[in-house]
């Protein structure tokens, strides 16, 4: 237990160091542009989508699984909500019923995403398909379904109230950021202070030991993927309102970035390790880099390449730190 704490501290240390480095570097590279309020506001609008999706990815990775269907889930629930909004809300009807319909749309979007999560969870725990394949299958299924429903067209024209969720501000703080903060906090407290959260970490470390300590593994997995789905649903609502539209195939490039963000934030792909704190730090690093480089006029592709380099750098430094700790441990034991 003590060792776990030390390595977590290292995690945060490394990440904070990288973050400081990146911020200093960006401030030097573009002194006039980077350190401005607008930069950080832009960041505050872009970070939440990726953040919520990364949280969805993270919780599945904590169990040693992966959820490749997050983007497809997001699009599916965004399309559901968008269809409800665009067919039911007509300009002639007084606005009082609009709020009702918006509520229904949001609940439907979340409901769809949770159901997809349930489906994933059952496939993984009951049917026993490896998570990567189960979610790959669901991903294909949902992508197909989204195309069949929309015929590839964009569903656009959301009511103003919905647009507020993605573009509005409350006391100067962008609405998406508030939502993200709330959900990140909820995820952290769920993982750290509930028994299911504890079991998720346990399952990721050793699923057989977890089973023999009397935990219903299937239940844990199903809950994990349902939560993963729920977070996709929240991301769907933000994305839908930010783009003012929904479409099959939005944001597909996010998929691998979420894995990258999670891993950079210290989530182990074998499962069992990873904190929301680390993930949030790594998201900020990625976002600062992408905005900073964008300000200097660097192509987005180079940014992605640099993310890759940073990730490998982080993994190598983890490896070295781990080796050093192991060495210390064996020395002190002998």
């Amino acid at each position: 237990m003590i060792k776990l704490k030390i390595s977590m501290d290292n995690e945060t240390k490394v990440l904070s160091l990288i973050l400081t480095g990146v911020i200093i570097l960006m401030s030097i590279l573009s002194p006039g542009h980077f350190l401005r309020i607008e930069t950080f506001q832009g960041m505050a609008f872009q970070l939440p989508e990726l953040g919520l999706l990364s949280l969805a990815m993270m919780i599945s990775m904590l169990t040693g699984g992966i959820n490749l269907s997050i983007i497809a889930t997001t699009n599916m629930s965004a399309i559901t909500a968008a269809l409800i909004l665009t067919t039911w809300i007509v300009p002639e009807v007084p606005a009082s019923t609009d709020i009702m319909i918006i509520m229904i749309a949001i609940i439907a979007a979340l409901g769809v995403s949770v159901l997809i999560g349930l489906f994933n969870g059952i496939l993984i725990s009951v049917v026993n398909i490896p998570p990567i394949l189960a979610t790959l299958g669901t991903m294909k299924l949902l992508q197909g379904l989204a195309f069949i429903i929309t015929r590839g067209y964009v569903i656009s024209g959301m009511p103003d109230l919905i647009r507020f969720i993605g573009n509005g501000k409350v006391v100067g703080i962008p609405m998406p950021l508030i939502i993200f903060a709330i959900f990140a906090f909820l995820m952290a407290s769920y993982l750290n202070h509930t028994s299911t959260g504890f079991n998720i970490y346990m399952f990721g470390s050793n699923s057989i030991a977890t089973l023999f300590s009397g935990v219903n593994n299937s239940k844990v997995i199903i809950k994990t993927y349902m939560i993963s789905g729920l977070y996709c649903g929240v991301a769907a609502i933000i994305m839908m309102s930010r783009f003012n539209s929904a479409k099959a195939g939005y944001g597909e490039s996010y998929l691998l970035v979420t894995i990258l963000a999670a891993v950079l934030g210290g989530v182990k792909s074998e499962g069992g390790f990873g904190r929301v704190k680390g993930l949030v730090l790594s998201l900020i690093i990625l976002q600062v880099m992408s905005i900073g480089l964008n300000l200097i006029g660097v192509s987005a592709f180079l940014t992605v390449a640099l993310w890759g380099l940073i990730m490998i750098g982080a993994m190598i430094s983890h490896f070295i730190i781990e080796q050093r700790d192991l060495l210390k441990l064996s020395v002190s034991k002998s």
């Binding site: 496939l123 490896p130 294909k140 069949i148 894995i259 792909s269 592709f301 380099l309």
Partner: protein, 335 residues
């Protein structure tokens, strides 16, 4: 007979057979030799990468970067042959060298720093592809040399259909066949091949037994890179344009095909025959949909269904089987 049904491949053959009957009953063009040769040609690109992916999966790893590697080697190859000329062997050599080098980087990173292969290859995918686009501006290349075009039209066997149009076994398919044969030889008849299975089965045991893990692991990823290089050339031969975004995005399709063929993501399991059947199943599904005039939007959906049903079926059987064996273990312990 009973033994036959223990193999995943048997079920696949049955499914393919059933699917073929259904498609043929709706459109008899499906079973024509012309359509078959055509499918063999157009799927050789996926097929080549599937063989590389098979080796990686058998070794217990996964590679997401191969599409990026194929793109990079294809692009450099195209730039080179346009500027300096050459022939198909030069083109293949360049593509293969670059592919192998990039694959080797993956292997070395995975071996030396024990980074999970999925993470490493996602990172390197972004690095390779990102730098390619930055350095080249992501421009499409249309002006491939004439000999490159002519090579793609070579047929080893030529037949003529009723309209007098030639068809037959394309050189591209032949490259795929060569790749398949080499993979079978490596996996079945060399120590290297057996050590790949051993590595996938249990890393620690295989190193204790004396297999060279470093060599095996580096080889697997280098071979994936090599085949990505070949696949890059093949894809350029097929479509005669080089576009940086035409291959990327196919990663998960290839993995799905190989896994459908019975390769396990945990490693140690999988056969070349199975991988080919997996590719064939998806190819027939796509081809059959066109022939049966089902809108293309349904393809993804059906692929999802096929993956979930077929893998679900075998996984569920595994679960039942493992449930049985564990009961026996406990009984023996208590005796």
């Amino acid at each position: 007979m009973k033994k036959l049904f223990q193999f995943h491949e048997t079920y696949l053959v049955l499914i393919i057979f059933l699917l073929s009957i259904i498609i043929t009953s709706i459109n008899s063009n499906f079973i024509s030799a012309e359509n078959m040769f055509d499918m063999l040609k157009s799927n050789s690109f996926i097929g080549i990468m599937a063989i590389g992916m098979l080796l990686v999966l058998v070794s217990g790893g996964i590679d997401i970067s191969f599409a990026a590697i194929a793109t990079v080697s294809q692009y450099v190859m195209a730039l080179f042959i346009i500027r300096f000329g050459g022939n198909i062997f030069v083109a293949l050599a360049i593509s293969i060298i670059i592919g192998t080098l990039l694959g080797m980087i993956n292997g070395l990173l995975i071996y030396y720093f024990r980074i999970p292969s999925i993470i490493t290859t996602i990172a390197t995918m972004n690095i390779y592809y990102g730098f390619l686009i930055v350095l080249t501006g992501g421009k499409w290349i249309y002006s491939l040399p004439d000999w490159f075009r002519k090579f793609a039209e070579i047929r080893l066997l030529t037949f003529y259909n009723s309209n007098g149009n030639p068809y037959g076994l394309s050189i591209v398919t032949f490259i795929w066949i060569l790749v398949v044969i080499s993979a079978v030889v490596i996996l079945k008849y060399t120590i290297l091949g057996r050590s790949i299975y051993a590595l996938g089965g249990d890393r620690k045991s295989s190193s204790r037994v004396g297999f060279n893990i470093f060599l095996t692991e580096t080889f697997v990823y280098s071979f994936m890179g090599l085949l990505s290089g070949v696949a890059g050339v093949v894809q350029a031969l097929l479509v005669q344009t080089v576009a940086p975004n035409s291959i990327v995005g196919k990663e998960l399709d290839v993995i799905a095909a190989v896994v459908l063929g019975g390769a396990s993501l945990a490693g140690g399991k999988g056969s070349v025959f199975g991988a080919i059947l997996g590719v064939a199943l998806l190819a027939i599904l796509r081809n059959g949909m066109t022939l049966m005039a089902i809108p293309a939007v349904w393809f993804q959906f059906l692929v999802g269904v096929v993956i979930l049903v077929s893998i679900g079926f075998s996984s569920y059987q595994d679960k039942l089987r493992s449930g049985k064996t564990s009961v026996i273990d406990i009984l023996e312990e208590t005796k």
